[in-house]
């Protein structure tokens, strides 16, 4: 155990990540994003702007899409978190992930985990979204490579393949 993990100013916080119980010893004001990446090694969640504008740090918290850069980890105590690492099953890509691959919905990859989680959130609410629904559902996630068309097509395709079921 390192000296910093014995720091008395830190506290123990437990939550579920991708179905597994995780207990971390951290400063309560650490951002959920940093705890996921640095304490739990879940580096699929990316940091883009760090101020809730770009959506690349999106995760699901108790089923809701959130920007993990804006969440003090204390507020995640007891929550159920899903990150991009939680979508593949037994090494097989989830339907949305496969659709992104098939439709060329990923280029540099920084926005992709957030895009996919925003799409999961959308498809949970609207299993067969219209193009307008997709645009609105992903409107908080910025991509600087693809021009969005392939991303939107990937989500529509995942809907057709029954990703939400």
């Amino acid at each position: 155990m390192s000296a910093s993990s014995q720091d008395p100013a830190k506290c123990e916080i437990a939550f579920t990540v991708n179905g597994q119980l995780a207990t971390v010893r951290v400063h309560a004001m650490e951002r959920l994003l940093d705890v996921l990446r640095h304490e739990l090694g879940l580096t699929g969640t990316k940091e883009g702007c760090g101020e809730g504008e770009c959506g690349s740090c999106s995760v699901l918290m108790d089923g809701l899409l959130v920007n993990s850069c804006l969440i003090p980890v204390l507020q995640a105590s007891g929550a159920n978190i899903v990150t991009i690492e939680g979508l593949a099953c037994d090494g097989r890509l989830g339907v949305l992930q496969q659709a992104f691959l098939d439709c060329g919905g990923a280029q540099c990859g920084i926005c992709t985990p957030g895009m996919i989680l925003a799409a999961v959130h959308l498809l949970n609410k609207k299993p067969r979204p219209t193009l307008e629904d997709i645009r609105e559902g992903l409107s908080g996630n910025l991509c600087r490579c693809t021009g969005y068309m392939q991303i939107i097509e990937a989500v529509a395709e995942a809907g057709r393949r029954g990703a939400a079921t």
Binding site: D7, A9, V26, H27, A28, M29, E30, R31, G50, E51, G52, E53, G55, S58, L64, L65, V66, N67, C69, L70, I71, P72, L74, Q75, S77, A118, H121, L122, E136, G137, S139, G140, N141, L142
Partner: protein, 292 residues
């Protein structure tokens, strides 16, 4: 310079009364944080003055929407998603549900709260002009008790409000008396999501027999506070909508707003757009009678 988490303290009491006692013990020391969509941005940028935070996220006492025959009380901790998905808010307070859908993106709507939007007191906030035209009242609560204040006079100056350091907004009260009104909202921005308005308008009014009745206009991003256009309202109330009135409304609105140049727009553009949005609303209002 990024903030270091070890320099901050955050606690999360489980009840509203525990939060209020903490605020009463050291007024002004503890900063309430709900969904964090404003506070965490300042924190990450190293600009958060407060070192002690008290989480009020998801406190059940603040997350209720209560209905009576003549009023809706929206808990200050309700998120934009709570508002845009609420049946009565959607049906009777469309300006508010629409503004909720315009604020940030989905992730911010799932965390940002209406109470947070009010106390953050940005003159550019999307939902505040709606609260002005509905003439909302705020229930402010502290360990000393509860008081009800009109929202119209809540904002004193830029980011300065009537709330005391030991107080929280408990709920926002809206009278259910606008079914006959024609409601209209416009946000002029680079895009709807994740963009702060250059100018936004919320408008309510009735139009009967060719005359304007009880018009209410409020604009964002054109003054140090969200602004009700009272002089413009007086200028058009009781009048027939014709090209002269549209011109009068435009010039009166332009004389009432006090915008600045900033990264999003120029003062000159904002003055012109504010006038145009008011004129556009009046035209729609006069057309609304023909449709019915």
């Amino acid at each position: 310079m990024r903030a270091h988490p070890s320099e901050y303290e955050i606690v999360s009491p489980h009840t509203l009364s525990a939060v209020l006692s903490l605020l009463a013990q050291e007024p002004g020391v503890w900063l309430p944080i709900a969904g964090g969509t404003d506070v965490m941005v300042q924190y990450a940028a190293g600009k958060l003055a407060a070192r002690k935070l008290v989480s009020i996220w998801n406190l059940p006492e603040l997350r209720r929407i209560e209905l009576s025959a003549d009023e809706i009380q929206i808990g200050a901790g309700c998120t934009y998603t709570d508002l845009s998905e609420h049946e009565i808010v959607n049906r009777e307070f469309t300006l508010l549900s629409r503004a909720a859908r315009w604020t940030g993106g989905i992730a911010n709507q799932n965390r940002g709260t209406i109470g947070g939007n009010i106390v953050n007191a940005s003159p550019a906030a999307d939902s505040l002009p709606a609260l002005l035209v509905y003439e909302a009242e705020l229930l402010l609560i502290s360990a000393r008790g509860e008081r009800r204040v009109p929202y119209t006079s809540f904002h004193i100056n830029y980011r300065e409000t009537q709330i005391a350091p030991d107080e929280l907004i408990r709920a926002i009260c809206l009278k259910r008396r606008f079914p006959e009104y024609y409601a209209h909202a416009r946000k002029v921005a680079a895009r709807n999501a994740q963009a702060i308005a250059k100018v936004c308008l919320a408008a309510l009014g009735r139009f009967a027999d060719g005359f304007v009745e009880d018009i209410r206009l409020a604009v964002g991003s054109v003054a140090p506070v969200p602004l009700r256009l009272t002089a413009t309202e007086r200028a058009v109330n009781g009048k027939r909508i014709d090209p002269q009135l549209l011109q009068l409304a435009r010039t009166t609105a332009a004389s009432e707003v006090r915008p600045i140049d900033d990264i999003r727009s120029s003062a000159r553009y904002r003055v012109a757009v504010a006038g145009n949005l008011v004129a556009e609303y009046l035209q729609q209002l006069s057309a609304s009678e023909m449709k019915t």
